[in-house]
Symmetry: C2
Subunit: 531 residues, 2 copies
């Protein structure tokens, strides 16, 4: 991408070097720096450099502990350091990345309002933060399934997802080779990786949820913790007594994890073992610094089921679990939405923030209608933008294949782009101090017909260029003061520029001068899809 290059900005210590995409502009305009998730680039067989290894090792000399119910436990979490008043190298990295003060980053983590997912066994990550007072983040899901499995294809999807802007990636592999697939993903990921350990645990019991046990689950957690998984979805809020609440829904339970735990609870007529063993999970998570992503096993799978008692009963339990995790200094975010019509979105955020003590909210979409399979990246980008504005910290993408099949590489890109749009729209609506400069730079380039600048500043420079070139491929058209929408005679942008020059001279009595300028009012456009 011509005009775009990667630059590094140093923090107060030399080993904090934060990547940005720098877009050089023409016309004397200052360069624009954009947030960059793409990572340093890797050879899949070698893996990425271990950026954080040194920082983790530094802290290892003085591993902290936390005392709980009389037991002394090791605790390596960013939340723990933040509460002690320590600004870690990771926090400093994030501060540079977000353009905010390190102390602010620390205080948001300490308050539980933000998380910095960073398993000590995943030193390849470039630190990032998830919290409502930071840039809105997006997650991309990848992973094999029984009918579609190729490790190489998944690593390629990972690299592709972070190239287009995924802030975290969840590996939702099911089927065979779960461990190997994850290992390749971990070692090649510059972003935090999330999983749903229940899927692998279920494979270990041959796919029969009734045979699941706490022990099998715990072993799976530890296996994944050792590999470096940064956050894990845990469906500990699907309580036995909530299952019947989903019985009369139009679409029942649509979360895989939720349906698995519901099946287990019913079969044994016992309380969810993830709930009853939650404190043991906290101890393990504290040791590795794994963040909880408290799963919404009862999220609505259709407009009809939105905001019902099943959903909100589970949310109340997630609030209880959030506060327990905090006792162990374990970082927590809380999962939400699914399918929710626009007028019911805000209630979700407000309730979650209240019940969960402002722990970061992490939502799938929501899809704002059920009627458009093959376009659910759009039905859900609408809901995602809104819920981001209302205070959701991270948006889990939906691809065009949602409900229909496993996303391929192209679908991953469509999903990521739709969600980058939603996240940025949310940042604008939240008046995030850094957000609008990007829009302003691009719009100014547009108004001044700096086509190359406009392409280079675009979220997807390749496609913007390609679409422009479809009708006006010649190189001179890149400097032309019009495009094919209206052609040279009708461009409103051009005439508007002339009016601007004219107005600058003052209006009264200037009409002759304007007319005398040659009737040369050369009519141009940009935004004239309409009138």
């Amino acid at each position: 991408m011509n005009g775009r290059s990667k630059v590094y900005v140093e923090g107060s210590r030399a080993d904090v070097r934060v990547p940005f995409v720098e877009v050089a502009l023409s016309g004397g305009e200052p360069a624009v720096r954009l947030y960059d998730t793409s990572g340093p680039g890797s050879e899949p067989e070698v893996g990425l450099p271990q950026l954080r290894a040194h920082w983790i090792a530094e802290r290892e000399g003085e591993v902290d502990t936390i005392e709980h119910s009389g037991t002394v436990l090791p605790c390596r979490t960013q939340l723990h350091y933040a509460k002690q008043g320590v600004v870690t190298a990771e926090m400093e990295f994030v501060a540079v990345r977000e353009g905010l003060a390190p102390e602010f980053v620390r205080s948001e983590i300490a308050a539980g309002r933000a998380i910095l997912p960073a398993n000590v066994n995943h030193p390849e990550t470039e630190p990032m933060i998830i919290g409502k007072n930071f840039l809105t983040k997006i997650n991309a899901n990848i992973g094999t399934s029984a009918v579609s499995d190729s490790i190489a294809a998944e690593v390629e999807k990972l690299t592709w997802a972070v190239k287009w802007g995924a802030d975290t990636v969840m590996d939702l592999s099911t089927g065979k080779h779960i461990h190997e697939t994850r290992e390749h993903i971990m070692r090649n990921s510059p972003v935090p990786i999330g999983t749903v350990p229940l899927y692998q645990a279920l494979e270990k019991v041959n796919g029969d949820p009734v045979k699941l046990t706490w022990e099998v689950y715990r072993d799976t957690i530890i296996e994944q913790a050792e590999q470096g998984v940064d956050y894990m979805t845990v469906h500990a809020g699907v309580l036995l007594r909530y299952v019947p609440l989903a019985a009369d829904r139009v679409t029942g339970i649509v979360s895989r994890g939720g349906s698995i735990m519901a099946a287990w609870c019913l079969a044994h007529h016992q309380e969810n073992f993830l709930y009853t063993h939650f404190r043991e999970l906290c101890e393990i998570f504290a040791e590795y610094d794994i963040a909880f992503s408290l799963g919404d096993g009862l999220r609505p799978g259709s407009i009809a089921d939105a905001n019902d008692e099943a959903q909100f009963a589970e949310l109340r339990t997630l609030g209880e679990l959030t506060h327990i995790a905090w006792e162990y200094d374990v970082q927590v975010m809380v999962e939400g939405p699914g399918h929710v019509p626009m007028h019911k979105i805000k209630e979700n955020v407000d309730l979650q923030q209240e019940i969960c003590g402002e722990a970061p909210f992490y939502t799938l979409g929501p899809l704002t209608t059920d009627v458009a399979p093959a376009y659910d990246h759009i039905t859900s980008a609408i809901g995602a933008a809104m819920i981001g504005w209302f205070g959701t910290a991270m948006l889990c993408y939906v691809t065009p294949k949602e409900h229909l099949g496993l996303p391929n590489r192209d679908d991953v890109k469509e999903g990521v782009i739709a969600y980058k749009i939603a996240a940025h729209a949310a940042d604008l609506a939240k008046d995030h101090p850094q957000a609008q400069a990007w829009d302003d730079a691009l719009s100014k380039a547009r108004f001044e017909f700096r086509w190359q600048d406009q392409f280079n500043l675009a979220l997807d420079p390749d496609r913007a260029r390609e679409y422009h070139d479809e009708t006006l491929p010649a190189e001179p058209a890149k400097t032309a003061h019009f495009c094919s929408m209206c052609g040279p005679k009708f461009c409103s942008m051009k005439i508007s520029q002339e009016l601007k020059e004219y107005a600058a001279k003052g209006m009264a009595g200037k009409s002759e001068e304007f007319a005398a300028s040659g009737g040369r009012v050369y009519l141009p456009v940009v935004d004239a899809a309409e009138s």
Copy 2:
């Protein structure tokens, strides 16, 4: 499309036959009827049947008049009839189409809260209504430009746009053959056609806005009125004194019509001739029943310019003009947005509704960020859904080519689908009585693995089917209780169905029975992009 067929529902008179798409469902489910814009189908060289000819002729025997400032003028508008308490055949058609009482339709039109665009010279239209208390409508723009002109291609785009759900189409042709292009479009359009007459008037003075005159413009209006144009965008609110307000904007004036009139005003240092001759326009519009679409020549073309004084000053003038048009019983809607961040959207609707006496609002998008050229159907579907929810009656689509080039056939489809999603999401959020039945039928089909029903109910059955078949092409997969997202062992929908059956029997003491059912908990999904 298998399972979908066109049916007609009769009104109280036999010649009111309203088309719907009927989707036949399996599993004993009742058929679902969907709103249908596709028209009866036409051979481009012959044109469509004249559905309304008889109704128009009936009224011709008793053409009504309106007296204004001592002059008696012919008036054929639906607003005029509505005010007299007459329910026209067109109103009755609309009532059946929307599932509402004819008297309600009449009263909304009489109050100016809705318009029924229906030029007496466009008898081919199937009547439709634009108003906040009806289904949210969408408009698709087509039209040639100097660098891309083919009449056949534009007629094909028209047919394609209405197939996918465009409620009205604007012919924004510039360049050569404007009259001929429009003639072909009019005769083949089952939906109301809008234009911006200023574009053709400008061609008549060789593209020099300074040479425009009221007389040239008036002749153009009459030419188009005779052809049957149903609504016209008139940029009468761009007053001389507002032009300097746009001088300091990031993107100046982005409306073509707005920039043309601004150029004229400045060159002559005179007031906009569309404003000074507005009453004469009303007289002409009343005679043919053309509706005003009061153009927003000063709409913002970037996030930076949203909701500024230039925009709202013009809106106040549009309010004044709305009330003048009503004096002549001329139907009016008011154009709005452009680029507006989410938190500034609602103010637009609230102000417009207040200032313009609840006349229908008709907005372009708005785009909620400037940074994603090539994806502005998405940046704007977000804003469109929201502004629809807040009370906008019709949403003007934006295609992926916005800002980059002229949309082709594929772009037209992408734009229409994105806007059908936005409009339907708005209807759900407004709790429109007919809206949710569609979502519920599709979600129920999804939950019950009735794949063919799900495809047939989809906004785009072709693509839904295609995406599903990409990974699981075999015919048996259409009845399978899983899809390729998770494969047969992991489908949450399947287990959820089993839980439902189980819960129906009552829970206590049933765990043995459940476990005894064979450990056959056959794990399935649908909505599991995530966890």
